[in-house]
């Protein structure tokens, strides 16, 4: 069997992402971030609901690096610490996060149709959100 090489992106969209994968991809979707920044962004954005820890973060980072969804950026923008790495979304990663967002959107639509998110009396306001 052949092992996918590091540069070869894994086809995105086939597999549902885990919540953490999704959050990490979202976090760097609007700009490169280093590990600590990702932790902070995710924590702030989720209102401390998702307790992302360093070990878990890097397990996910490693996995997605292998899949070719994210890449380390060359150089250190502020030059402060050469060990610090920034992560950037690759086109494959962008595909993956988009596919996941769509999948979730579809799911939420189904949830609305089935009135899971509220009573029958006020279904509409939720949809606009």
């Amino acid at each position: 069997m052949r092992r996918p090489a590091d540069h070869e992106a894994m086809p995105a969209g086939d597999v549902p992402l885990t919540a953490i994968e999704f959050h990490v991809l979202l976090s760097i979707s609007d700009g490169d971030r280093h590990g600590y920044a990702i932790l902070q962004e995710v924590t702030e954005r989720t209102g401390d609901q998702l307790r992302l820890r360093t070990g878990t973060l890097y397990t996910v980072i490693k996995r997605m690096l292998d899949r070719g969804w994210i890449a380390e950026t060359d150089g250190t923008p502020d030059g402060s610490d050469e060990r610090r790495r920034y992560y950037r979304l690759t086109p494959a990663g962008r595909l993956a996060v988009r596919a996941e967002a769509r999948r979730l959107q579809d799911l939420v639509a189904v949830a609305h149709e089935k009135h899971v998110l509220g009573r029958r009396s006020k279904p509409a306001p939720e949809r606009g959100r």
């Binding site: 360093t54 070990g55 397990t59």
Partner: protein
């Protein structure tokens, strides 16, 4: 302040944890992950730090798993950490072991027993033989002996020699003296005689031991207050002084004088023999003739070099200051290196025997596992063909062996933990006293047990793998089943294993049988008296208060008269000795008016007895009569051995003396020989029974070997149930003199049996070991035959179909069994012949190559082999020819 410290510690810990991640992970993310944590840590709460650390540990596992999004398992698995793979193997191996509970159970039990036996004995070997001497640099400690001007060697040095040699610092670092003695201890619940040693003040320091409590002697303890201070053994402190921590400075009464306790020696400190409980200071100059001498050689001086220097100094001293005794001394090289030869060889023989049991068990287990491996041959072959690596299969087998070994080791060590106590109870005293540590399952024994167990199990589990490795596949998927699964070579190997088991069992059986025969011989010895229903009470008479034999006799006669009055007592006698303790042993040349008997001096046991002594012990007097109360002091009864030494059957009516200057004695009776020194020791037969009032006059060179403060005297009585009278009689004795220690009160049968305790210990264990070996060997025969029958069922069926009779079939199976047994017995006999010599020193009147033993044991093994063949034969007879024809 706290926060940064916690953070720094957490960072360090985190760095350690990151090392556990797979290499690929560390290469790619390791540094950055740590960097991120370093950024986070100083700002995090303690709870967060802990959560981070746990998370990092948890992710070690996650990071090793293949990406769930990919479906490639095999190649990723190959890249996994080797430990993870091994954990998987272990799970697999254990699961497989669980599917064969009977086989696994039998393996663990067999090995477990062997390990229990080995570990128990190792605990003894370790304590008795392997532990280093408790004395520091014991190789430089030697006994010094005096060399007389005529070249003879006598133990101990005179005070003059001692003083002189103490100055020769070019040879000796220290010269110390000691004398064994006893002390009469009063003030406890019972007065008692205690073994003690008088030692020069520096001796304990020279040995290099430290007291457990208090201090050792100082040089000024000896001259200032001779015998007024004492150091006690740990045992004495524990049993007599109530383990009191404030015992130092307390006074105990010894020989009627208060002695201040200066120190308590550590547990299992023994000097000079194993039984001393007290140490008193010795003043070498104080009127003592000579004392045993212990020297410590100068550092770096070999014993040969020391001898050379001693020779030179002796010559110089002889020229400078000649003395009639000369200055020569000799060094005894083997003074302090452990237990005596017999104890050592008994322990080693047992350890060897246990080693053989282990080998038998190992062969048995190997055989069992081999059976299993043959069945697994197909599985392994298929796996090899499907791409499993050989290393992986070997690893599995190793892990299986490891698991079996650990299980058997745990079981065995647990059993050893329980059985060591029993072993210690059975063991002879001199063996236990020779130990410097407690006997028990300690760390060393546990390490030994597990090492042995795991090594055995792993080794036994490996050989099966080799064939599979060599020739994978060939017949794996050919559809042929068990018939093809074993090669002739494999069958031969299994038979060879069983043959070895039988051979080893034969060696053990021969050893046990020799000991059994020796033991039977010992028990059949005509001891010359009847110990049944007799109790021997030993009373230690204070030689200061009862200075003369008359005084002692007066007291004892009074006691005997009162004891005689007690209801139930049939007969009472008093004596200075009773077997197995002779009265006194002295060396002399026997003379009759016709001339000297024999050329040399001989050891003669002399016993002061009351006339009833012969009746109580039932000693026959074939010619003449026992002593009578009205006999003159020179009347004696002699043993037949003495008469024979003088060339006659009876000396009754004749006269005899012990040496040219001694007084003549009139022999009134010639008594049967009695084993006065116990069952195993010869030389006690030359006995002279003297009347109480004879004193020591007949012995010109009568020398007390042990200067004792207490003279042992015996009160013997016969009664229907003698043991029930002991307390009563003690009270009678103390009514006469409250200060009289009763040293012991033991049935005479036990006293004699105790003299062969070592032999009984050896016999018990050897019998146990050889029975187990025989049982295992027979299980081995059974296993091999049963398997062979199962394998050859087709062949047997075809033979039967072609007209073979039952007799043929029986011959086929039993013949196989007997062939294996014969080969095993032949090898076993050869080995036993070679090894039985090591038993020679432990046997009594039995030749190590006793033909009867060899023949009976061979027959026994053949009988067992036949019995083990029985069930497989029955199975062979039941083979249905039709079935076998249909299968092929």
């Amino acid at each position: 302040m706290k926060r940064p410290i916690a953070a720094a510690a957490a960072i360090r810990l985190y760095a350690l944890i990151t090392r556990l991640y797979p290499a690929a992970f560390r290469e790619r993310c390791g540094r950055d992950m740590l960097r991120t944590f370093e950024e986070l840590a100083p700002r995090a709460t303690a709870g967060r730090l802990a959560a981070e650390l746990f998370d990092a540990i948890r992710c070690v596992r996650t990071s090793r798993r293949p990406d769930p999004a990919t479906r490639q398992t095999r190649t990723t698995a190959a890249r996994e950490h080797v430990l993870v793979a091994m954990a998987q193997d272990a799970r697999y191996a254990l699961r497989r072991l669980r599917t064969q509970p009977a086989l696994v159970g039998f393996t663990i039990l067999t090995l477990g027993f062997a390990i229990a036996a080995s570990a128990s004995l190792f605990s003894i070997v370790d304590a008795v033989l392997l532990r280093p001497s408790p004395f520091s640099e014991a190789d430089r400690l030697v006994n010094a002996m005096s060399v007389t001007p005529r070249g003879g060697i006598s133990p101990g040095l005179s005070a003059i020699k001692l003083k002189q040699w103490r100055n020769e610092t070019s040879v000796f670092e220290a010269v110390e003296a000691y004398v064994a003695t006893t002390a009469l201890a009063t003030g406890g619940p019972e007065p008692e005689e205690v073994r003690a040693a008088e030692i020069s003040p520096g001796l304990l320091r020279t040995l290099g031991v430290a007291p457990r409590l208090g201090r050792l002697f100082h040089d000024d303890d000896a001259p200032a207050g001779q015998n007024q201070v004492v150091i006690v053994s740990e045992h004495y402190w524990r049993t007599r002084l109530g383990e009191a921590s404030d015992v130092i400075g307390r006074a105990i009464t010894l020989n009627g004088q208060p002695h201040t306790v200066l120190g308590v020696m550590p547990k299992r400190f023994h000097f000079p023999t194993l039984r001393e409980e007290l140490w008193l200071p010795l003043n070498p100059g104080a009127g003592r003739g000579s004392a045993f001498t212990l020297v410590r050689l100068r550092e770096g001086l070999t014993i040969e070099a020391a001898r050379a220097r001693i020779a030179a100094i002796t010559a110089r001293l002889a020229a400078e200051q000649p003395t009639p005794g000369g200055w020569a001394i000799a060094l005894d090289s083997h003074a302090f290196d452990g237990p005596d030869e017999k104890t050592r060889s008994a322990v080693l023989v047992l350890f060897g025997a246990v080693g053989l049991v282990l080998l038998v068990a190992g062969a048995n287990v190997a055989n069992l596992l081999l059976t299993r491996a043959i069945d697994r041959h197909r599985e392994f072959s298929i796996r090899l063909m499907l791409g499993a690596s050989r290393a992986r299969l070997v690893r599995e087998l190793l892990i299986e062996g490891l698991a079996l070994g650990v299980a058997a080791g745990s079981l065995g060590l647990l059993a050893a933990h329980w059985s060591v106590g029993t072993l210690v109870r059975l063991a002879p005293d001199d063996l236990l006293l020779a130990t410097t540590t407690d006997i028990g399952v300690d760390g060393r024994v546990i390490a030994f047990g597990f090492a042995l167990s795991i090594a055995t199990a792993v080794l036994c589990n490996l050989p099966p793998a080799f064939r599979t490795m060599r020739a994978p596949g060939r017949d794996a998927i050919s559809g042929r089943t068990r018939t093809a699964a074993t090669t002739p070579a494999q069958r031969r190997f299994r038979s060879a294993l069983v043959m070895c088991e039988i051979a080893l069992a034969v060696v053990l059986l021969v050893g046990a049988a020799l000991m059994m025969r020796s033991f039977a011989r010992l028990n059949a010895i005509d001891i010359g008296f009847n110990p049944d229903r007799v109790v021997v009470m030993t009373i230690g008479m204070d030689t200061e208060r009862y200075g003369t034999e008359e005084a002692r006799f007066a007291l004892l006669r009074g006691i005997a008269a009162d004891v005689r009055q007690l209801p139930g007592i049939e007969e009472v006698a008093i004596a200075s000795g009773a077997p197995p303790a002779p009265g006194s042993l002295s060396f002399g040349a026997i003379e009759t008016p016709a001339g000297p008997c024999g050329a040399d001096e001989t050891g003669i046991v002399s016993n002061l007895v009351s006339p009833s002594y012969f009746r109580v012990l039932g000693i026959a007097i074939p010619d003449g009569r026992p002593l009578r109360a009205d006999d003159p002091p020179d009347a004696v009864v002699v043993s037949q051995s003495i008469a024979r030494r003088c060339g006659v059957e009876s000396l009754t009516g004749s006269r005899l003396r012990l040496g040219p200057n001694a007084a003549w004695l009139s022999v009134v009776g010639t008594a049967a020989d009695v084993r006065t020194m116990g069952l195993t020791s010869d030389g006690g037969e030359m006995a002279i029974y003297l009347a109480w009032n004879a004193g020591t006059a007949p012995f010109p060179n009568f020398a007390t070997m042990l200067p004792r403060r207490v003279a042992p005297r015996r009160v013997l009585f016969r009664a229907a149930s003698p043991a029930s009278h002991i307390d009563e009689i003690k009270r009678v004795i103390w009514r006469h003199d409250a200060g009289q220690p009763v040293l012991s009160a033991v049935p005479a049968t036990e006293l004699m049996a105790d003299t062969i305790r070592r032999e009984r210990f050896l016999l018990t264990l050897m019998t146990l070991f050889s029975s187990v070996a025989l049982a295992l060997a027979s299980a081995g025969i059974f296993g091999v035959l049963a398997y062979a029958v199962a394998q050859r069922a087709n062949e047997i069926g075809i033979r039967v179909a072609l007209g073979a009779s039952s007799a043929h079939v029986i011959r086929l199976v039993v013949g196989h069994g007997l062939a294996v047994a014969s080969a095993g017995v032949a090898a076993g006999i050869a080995a036993a012949l070679a090894f039985s010599r090591v038993l020679a020193g432990l046997l009594y009147e039995v030749e190590p190559r006793d033909p009867l033993v060899f023949v009976t044991m061979s027959l026994l093994v053949f009988g067992v082999a036949l019995a083990a063949s029985w069930i497989p034969t029955l199975r062979a007879l039941k083979v249905d020819p039709a079935t076998s024809l249909r299968v092929d």
